[in-house]
């Protein structure tokens, strides 16, 4: 079956938890996780709703392969209207929580309304109840996870929760699970906080039954063997995603100081090698790698900060091991803000996890604030006397704390870069798309990535398209539109399976996903059908955005990327060729429809065998 065929609907206003059967027609069309949750959201809310109103809903979703032995089958997704963007938000996380929720018997948990007081949702298989969380409100993720486990006398409970950032309305608050994994982007934690829901704690013992066990086991073995042999996978295990730092740093695609530059002189202090090398005190940042539920890649990093570093001196609670720098955090808390201090970036990353903030958007917003400070739009009067110069590691650490708690200038940082730059009169200094801050790639050196950012339904994102190979091979715009569009469809499908996207970067082929889904689910899942499902999901997200009031005008990039040439690197002198690529990207849109509109089905994909989205 793959699917558990069951939804948990939680009405926070009424305080009720009700089981419902899963709509299996929709499951056959939208598969699971990102896809199926978006279908339910689209059907149940007005896309024009205020993201923080009780009428917005938050859908926590697993995929058919979540909770199975398929490698990386532990992913879960939070889908809602994003507090940061006002667009569809689909934020994906690993860890152990997703597998536990699936094994408790649920494909989706739909959270609606707003509780009159803080609560947490406690699930033990079929039993689900809302419990008072007044004593947990105002406390961090790191405090409440052990508190809930202790209260229920069960260390195996898995918890997804918000920290103080989600409580006060930081626009890029995330939902953190298992202490340091996060559904990070677009403000899904802000929506959870607006519902007075502090945490979801779950214990599941039911297991997951595939539709055809023999076929499923065979497909899993083929896919897992492919990962085991793959050389890229070996690199991902040994170095983690931070290996990218040398690549973008050399190429000239590493956003530096709010994208003023594309290469960072301090990148060698933030790379995989320096993470493993002892510092002058003999302290090594990296302790070991880590894997999520059922994962055979293990790209995660477990780190600790040098106890003698200024950030953690006399703070023993921060001298322990926790989730270390990934490439994205090393960029956002490093080159984006001009800081080359690995311990400071690691500590700031810890704070993002503890308070429940997306480190990419926090770093991007701080980088924007630093440029506003540099041009005089922000002064020490605004910052409480703090010198916000690029490169100030102490300011990075302090601002992470203030933004996490919503105190002082941190409250302004909690707005996100778009609202911050508008507030201080320089909107062009926000490096964001649809209000969401850039990930760790510059759209001038990587033309496909720029197009991917611009057209991403949830705002700037490095996980919505796969132009890496094409971009690192050529800085030209030719062919990038097709790469971006087709990979957006494939990734939408992968995100709906419950597997990790990094399998695609570690040796998995599209056939591996289709074969595993075919073993797990009824319905003859071929690769063409899987890809068609991906396109359907992408277009449904786009329909949501159009109904929310967004249009193709939002498929754009900041003026800096469109008009200011890259100052160095392989793409020196280039600006984004977005205007050249967009028409080709839209080419498959049926004539008569608005550019970028998925309103009418394309003959190639939507004619058969399934109905068009929205039906």
């Amino acid at each position: 079956m793959g699917w558990q065929r069951k939804i948990l609907r939680v009405n926070l206003t009424a305080g009720t938890c009700v089981h419902e059967p899963l709509n299996m027609d929709w499951a056959q069309q939208f598969l699971g996780s990102r896809g199926l949750a978006t279908k339910y959201l689209m059907a149940e809310i007005d896309p024009k709703v205020d993201p923080l109103a009780p009428e917005n809903k938050l859908v926590i979703a697993t995929g058919p392969l979540t909770g199975t032995i398929a490698s990386t089958g532990g992913r879960w997704t939070a889908v809602t209207k994003g507090a940061l963007t006002g667009a569809i938000a689909a934020s994906n996380s690993g860890g152990q929580f997703g597998g536990e929720l699936k094994m408790a018997g649920y494909d989706l948990v739909i959270l609606e309304g707003r509780s009159p007081h803080p609560v947490y949702l406690y699930i033990e298989d079929d039993r689900a109840q809302l419990l008072d969380a007044s004593h947990l409100w105002g406390r961090s993720v790191w405090e409440i996870e052990p508190a809930i486990k202790e209260a229920h006398e069960d260390p195996l409970i898995r918890i997804a929760s918000i920290g103080q950032a989600g409580e006060y309305g930081c626009r890029y608050a995330c939902i953190v699970n298992d202490l340091h994994r996060a559904a990070g982007r677009s403000g899904v934690g802000t929506v959870m906080g607006s519902k007075n829901l502090k945490a979801i704690a779950v214990r599941g013992t039911k297991g997951v039954r595939p539709h055809d066990p023999a076929k499923f086991m065979s497909a899993v073995k083929v896919a897992t063997d492919a990962l085991a042999k793959n050389k890229g996978r070996k690199g991902m295990t040994s170095d983690g995603t931070i290996a990218m730092m040398d690549v973008t740093g050399t190429f000239g695609a590493l956003p530096t100081r709010n994208n003023r530059e594309v290469q960072f002189e301090g990148s060698a202090k933030l790379n995989a090698k320096s993470m493993k090398a002892p510092n002058e005190h003999g302290h090594t940042n990296l302790i070991q790698n880590a894997a999520c539920f059922a994962c055979t890649i293990g790209c995660g990093r477990i780190s600790h900060v040098d106890p003698q570093h200024f950030s953690v001196k006399d703070k023993p609670q921060y001298q322990k091991a926790s989730g270390g720098l990934e490439y994205e955090t090393a960029y956002a808390l490093g080159s984006a803000v001009g800081v080359d201090d690995m311990d400071a970036a690691t500590y700031a990353g810890f704070l993002c996890n503890e308070y429940g903030m997306d480190p990419i958007s926090f770093g991007g917003t701080l980088a924007c604030a630093m440029e506003l400070y540099d041009v005089g739009a922000i002064t020490k009067e605004h910052t409480g006397g703090v010198d916000l110069s690029f490169g100030n590691a102490e300011a990075l650490c302090l601002m992470a704390e203030l933004a996490g708690k919503g105190e002082g200038f941190g409250r302004d940082l909690g707005l996100g870069s778009k609202r911050l730059a508008e507030k201080y009169g320089r909107p062009e200094l926000s490096m964001a798309v649809k209000g969401q801050e850039f990930a760790a790639y510059d759209g001038r050196a990587m033309q496909g990535m720029g197009l991917g950012y611009a057209t991403s339904n949830r705002g700037a994102c490095h996980l919505r398209a796969n132009p890496y190979g094409a971009d690192f091979t050529s800085t030209a715009t030719e062919g990038k539109a097709e790469v971006v569009r087709t990979s957006q469809d494939l990734i939408s499908a992968i995100d709906a399976t419950g597997l990790c996207l990094f399998t695609l970067h570690s040796g998995a082929t599209p056939e591996h996903y289709a074969d595993q889904i075919d073993g797990a689910c009824e319905g003859e899942w071929t690769l063409p059908r899987l890809l068609e499902t991906g396109e359907r999901i992408w277009n449904l997200e786009r329909q949501f955005n159009l109904a929310a009031g967004l249009s193709s005008k939002d498929d754009t990039l900041p003026k800096r990327i469109l008009e200011e040439p890259a100052p160095s690197g392989v793409a020196k002198g280039l600006v984004s060729g977005l205007k050249t690529m967009l028409p080709e990207y839209y080419e498959r849109t049926p004539s008569g429809a608005a550019p970028g509109s998925p309103a009418a089905p394309s003959p190639r994909r939507w004619a058969a065998p399934t109905a068009p989205p929205g039906s």
Partner: protein, 84 residues
Amino acid sequence: MKVNVRLMGWLREFLRSDIEKFDDKDLELADGLTVGGLADELGFRAETEFMAMRNGTHVKPEVLDTTVLADGDVVIYVPPLKGG
């Protein structure tokens, strides 16, 4: 001639099996070897796409096999890592 060869990301995983893995190494090479030819000799050219830089300048794919290395050169090979 001596050339400093730097392999970015985890390109070392794609080295020929009889070559000891390295990220940054000075190699003694035969005169006349090109940037593309060195990638062939190291064994990763057949296995993965890459971008090359010689002394800080991008060596475009069409001139990989005509760009001759010289003593003292620094050549960097960058693989197309994904994700992050």
